[in-house]
Symmetry: C2
Subunit: 168 residues, 2 copies
């Protein structure tokens, strides 16, 4: 397979992959494009390669910057802005985990705390079923939260070695 075709496939399936994880297709595609590009790119480069509009490109670059996955690069003597993606996949994963933890897991755990305190007699099976479910989700969620925290702090090599040892 030629490089051009391989890139196309990578970008397109990274985009499809993204949509299964609540990330919009274009954002994932821009990210994929930058991941496999040796040099920083301008918005115009991306527009051309992905066949998308200027507005779309701009909005999704901004979003990738918000996620901490892409950053602006200043090239001396150039008027235009250039962008580049973090290439260290371990860092990319950690960054995504960090953001999703903050945006989704933590608010969910807070809600569950509130819901656990529901009024009513625990001997009522409706109350009991509700509280039991909430408590068990919370328990698992808290453990996930801690584990992810640790992972965010870990070095890739240490993490992989640990996993390898335990789950061999």
């Amino acid at each position: 397979m030629k490089l051009t075709e391989a890139k196309q496939q990578f970008i397109s399936s990274w985009g499809a992959f993204g949509t299964h994880w609540g990330i919009n297709r274009t954002m994932a595609q821009i990210h994929a494009l930058l991941l496999v590009s040796p040099d920083p790119m301008t918005q115009d480069d991306m527009m051309e390669q992905l066949n998308i509009s200027r507005g779309n490109t701009n909005m999704n670059i901004r979003e990738l910057i918000n996620w901490g996955l892409v950053e602006r690069v200043l090239l001396s003597g150039e008027r235009k802005e250039y962008f580049t993606a973090e290439k260290d996949i371990w860092k990319v994963v950690k960054q995504i985990v960090k953001e999703r933890k903050k945006r989704e897991l933590e608010p969910m755990l807070q809600l569950l705390d509130k819901l656990e305190a529901v009024e009513g007699d625990k001997r009522d099976k409706h109350v009991k079923a509700f509280v039991d479910t909430v408590v068990s989700i919370k328990k698992l969620g808290r453990q996930a939260d801690k584990t992810l925290d640790m992972m965010i702090r870990a070095e890739e090599s240490w993490f992989l070695a640990t996993m390898m040892k335990f789950f061999k």
Copy 2:
């Protein structure tokens, strides 16, 4: 907070949560409703409680069954079908991990294998950047695959205890 309100909140935020993870709102809400219900429910019960149509209810129940999260229950002397959700959250998580691994991670790893074999001189920086990215994603993906496999096989108590020890 009253039980009814707490249930509403739980169902609605579980639905919103789902949409961030590529799961449609209704499917997540039905799942939430069943999770907190002490007894099996009929389609009509769900339609009423969630204010959704018969077709929508039916399609999403089927989908939950495909995911292995809900099952049909036969109540003797009843004509209608009843449904119930797995209440053990650890089993629920394992089931979701298992399915997503099969549906998404494994196909992605297969694709990456194919893409790694791209033609071209590795001294060309474009080829090199592409292959490097593909290889590093693959490496991490394979480790994730193994780790998740292990997790799927593990008992909750063992898994949590292990995590606790290591990542304390």
